[in-house]
């Protein structure tokens, strides 16, 4: 009998409206950059340029900041309820255009359409919807503290969840009465620019949200600018430290959501099949471009063999390839640069004596690809178990006792997230108490919700996004 394999199931992209060239979104309008420079944004699955995007220089940043400062005056005086209604509008319009957003997200960033369609875009809309409701309720969140807006927030977001990170940043900032200058990552600017169109269509007052594009230099200009009262950054720990420094010298409020190297801990009393699914979701979600990815797997020795066999079997069913195919599980690596980083770590892992496993999957010729990868025979002292790889690469270690695993899990400069798998509730709570991480998932992994705060300990940053605690980042108090 002929083997049964899934046929191609491409998502229809014909309905998507993309411009050839994108200007800067400043003061409610798309404006040509003073720099007169544009850069290409590339589809990482085909290596084809999708559009030209303006590069904001110092003057452009200045103009955006001034527009935000000007807009702040009336915006901050608007009642919370009216502010909220604008944000609700944005939420609804993202929902209306969700398929278009999803397709653009996958074209520009390489993530599978299944994820952009089912996770990124609905969550982004939900985030706006959630924070819209806070705009007129801040007094209840901070009783006796007179919460007040800060002013202008400069926000810099990464390329792994482009629209979702824009939502995480913009929604609470607006709900709290601030205005915003946001810069998406240079490899994935398109959904943020589409969001700018939505914001325009929603009739948000001019200058309340400004979206400018560019690379690290533009970001540095934003941080150094005197106007913003707040810097919000999501990205690497390395850059995060620079942002922090700029915030300190400019006396600005700051929140940082940085790297991670999460421990995902498997006890032998765990529901094993669910655990396998959780491990897969923990590390191979979004090509492993996830700061909270469960990249360090700790397996109790008694179930190590079983976990390994099942994990490999599940990995063999993962489909790597065209992000626009509805059946793709692992899409394209976001950029050539990132692929180089990942490949460098694969080399390091081998050199360190770790054993590598990759399923034998067909990958397209053009584009940036990395199959799901796991390393066994790994020690805590290996670089692949210490450093953030930001790719679909899992490092597996074994442990014997609960004390040992707590010790090892916390033995890292990062502290963003962790996972615990066991059927025993009291063990879960022992772990959630002992682990030094901002988010701990028990018998699940990589779950996000607008109502739930997210953020890290230690070098994973500080401040929380999401939930009541996410408001704090955009308010000052008497």
């Amino acid at each position: 009998m002929e083997e049964w394999n899934l046929s191609l199931a491409p998502e229809n992209a014909a309905h998507v409206q993309l411009k050839k060239k994108y200007e800067l979104f400043i003061n409610g309008e798309f404006q040509k950059p003073f720099s007169n420079k544009y850069f290409e944004t590339v589809n990482p699955a085909t290596e084809q340029a999708i559009a030209l995007v303006a590069e904001a220089n110092e003057k452009d940043v200045d103009q955006a900041m001034k527009a935000a400062a000007e807009a702040y005056k009336p915006w901050s005086k608007l009642s919370g309820a009216e502010r909220g209604k604008y944000i609700y509008r944005i939420a609804r319009m993202i929902q209306e255009k969700s398929r278009e957003f999803a397709v653009i997200e996958s074209l520009d960033g390489g993530k599978p359409i299944r994820e952009s369609r089912d996770i990124d875009i609905p969550l982004a809309a939900a985030h706006f919807f959630y924070y819209a409701g806070w705009a007129d309720k801040l007094e209840y969140a901070f009783p006796m503290r007179k919460p007040q807006s800060l002013g202008v927030a400069a926000q810099i977001i990464p390329w792994n969840f482009p629209l979702l990170m824009a939502a995480w940043k913009i929604a609470p900032a607006l709900a709290c009465g601030n205005t915003v200058v946001l810069k998406p990552a240079e490899t994935t600017p398109l959904t943020a620019l589409k969001l700018a169109e939505v914001i325009q269509e929603a009739g948000l007052p001019q200058g309340v949200v400004n979206i400018i594009t560019g690379a690290g230099k533009t970001g540095a200009e934003m941080c150094a600018h005197p106007i913003p009262n707040k810097l919000a950054f999501t990205g690497s720990t390395e850059v995060g430290k620079l942002v922090y420094k700029a915030a300190l010298s400019g006396n600005k409020k700051v929140t940082l959501e940085l790297g991670g190297k999460a421990a995902d801990i498997i006890f032998d009393d765990a529901p094993i099949d669910a655990t396998i699914e959780g491990i897969i979701n923990g590390i191979y979600f979004n090509q492993g471009h996830v700061c909270c990815a469960g990249s360090r797997l700790f397996v109790q020795e008694t179930v190590y063999e079983e976990i390994l066999v099942k994990l490999k079997k599940r990995m063999n069913t993962l489909i790597v390839g065209d992000p626009m195919d509805k059946n793709t599980d692992i899409g394209a690596i976001n950029s050539k640069e990132q692929l180089d980083v990942i490949n460098r770590y694969l080399k390091i892992g081998r050199a360190e004596g770790a054993e590598i496993y990759q399923p034998n999957c067909k990958m397209p010729e053009l584009g940036n690809w990395c199959p799901p990868t796991l390393f066994t025979n790994v020690a805590q002292s290996n670089r692949i178990s210490q450093e953030e790889i930001f790719g679909p690469v899992l490092a597996i270690q074994t442990f014997r006792t609960i004390e040992e695993v707590i010790d090892k899990a916390n033995n890292t400069p990062f502290g963003l997230s962790a996972g615990v798998w066991t059927d025993k509730g009291s063990k879960i709570f022992q772990l959630t108490k002992a682990l030094k991480a901002g988010v701990i998932w028990a018998n699940t992994f990589n779950k996000f919700d607008p109502t739930s705060p997210f953020g890290g300990y230690k070098e994973s940053g500080f401040g929380r996004e999401g939930g009541v605690h996410g408001l704090d980042a955009y308010l000052k108090f008497d």
């Binding site: 529901p271 669910a274 959780g278 059927d423």
Partner: protein, 304 residues
Amino acid sequence: MNAEQLLSGFKPTPVDLMGVNDRIIRIKSRSIKTHAKNQGLSMVLSMIDLTTLEGADTPNKVRQLCYKAMHPQDQLKGVPSVAAVCVYPTLVKTAKDALKGSDVKVAAVSTYFPSGQSTLENKLLETQFAIDEGADEIDMVISRREFLQGNYEYVLYEILEVKSLCSANNVRLKVILETGEIGSLDEVRKASDIALLAHPDFIKTSTGKIGQAANMQVTLVMLQAIWDHYQKTGVQVGMKPAGGISDAKTALHYLVMVKEVLGQEWLSNKWFRFGASRLANDVLMQMAKQESGIYQAPQYFSKD
């Protein structure tokens, strides 16, 4: 080994409902198009146990069903016959005669289906009768009465007895767990593990006689049990979700589940079946649509 020996050291395997749901969301997000769809639909049809299990069943009704089983839709090209016709023991002979010359098997429900509320002696007598009448396959029910009281040894003992009777007569055995009556997914897993110790040919979800029949959660847990059993013993056991699956799209997602959890080796009617009566026509409608590109209406498909 007897039931007691087989069960010594038995350890329940925990199942997490939310984890099961997460896995199923992934399976249901698989998009089955073009060639894969044609191939899948044909496979689904060939895996159906076309079933009639009513007090009102008569020989004529069964004969009509048998014709449908062999000729699901002659107007369409390349339509396979179904896997089996599933009837009560007293109608096995009728079915056997009607199906003469075809590959379609006759399955008989047995062991005081659907309740199983009788003595083992009676259950064996009934099974022997069905076999004597010509049944190729026996669909037995486990004793939920004993399972729910924790008497796992007796549950296994009964299965072993029926199994040895079937083996002696070269008849394949399906063990129905009636998952809708035994509680949570943890219990489904436990019942699966117990049944698997007897090395039946299939484990099966439901009788179709109570409200809650097969669903994807239960099927996934049973498939996982089959896989673990296969890993441990090397013995391949088949799976039959029964009842409640009536549309082709869902059936195709079941096949995706089988393929991803167990593998290609299970994708034939030797190792996977659907217990269903309405499913066949929806599959035929989809096949006709695939061939013509035109959406179909039910009145063009025969009801038997």
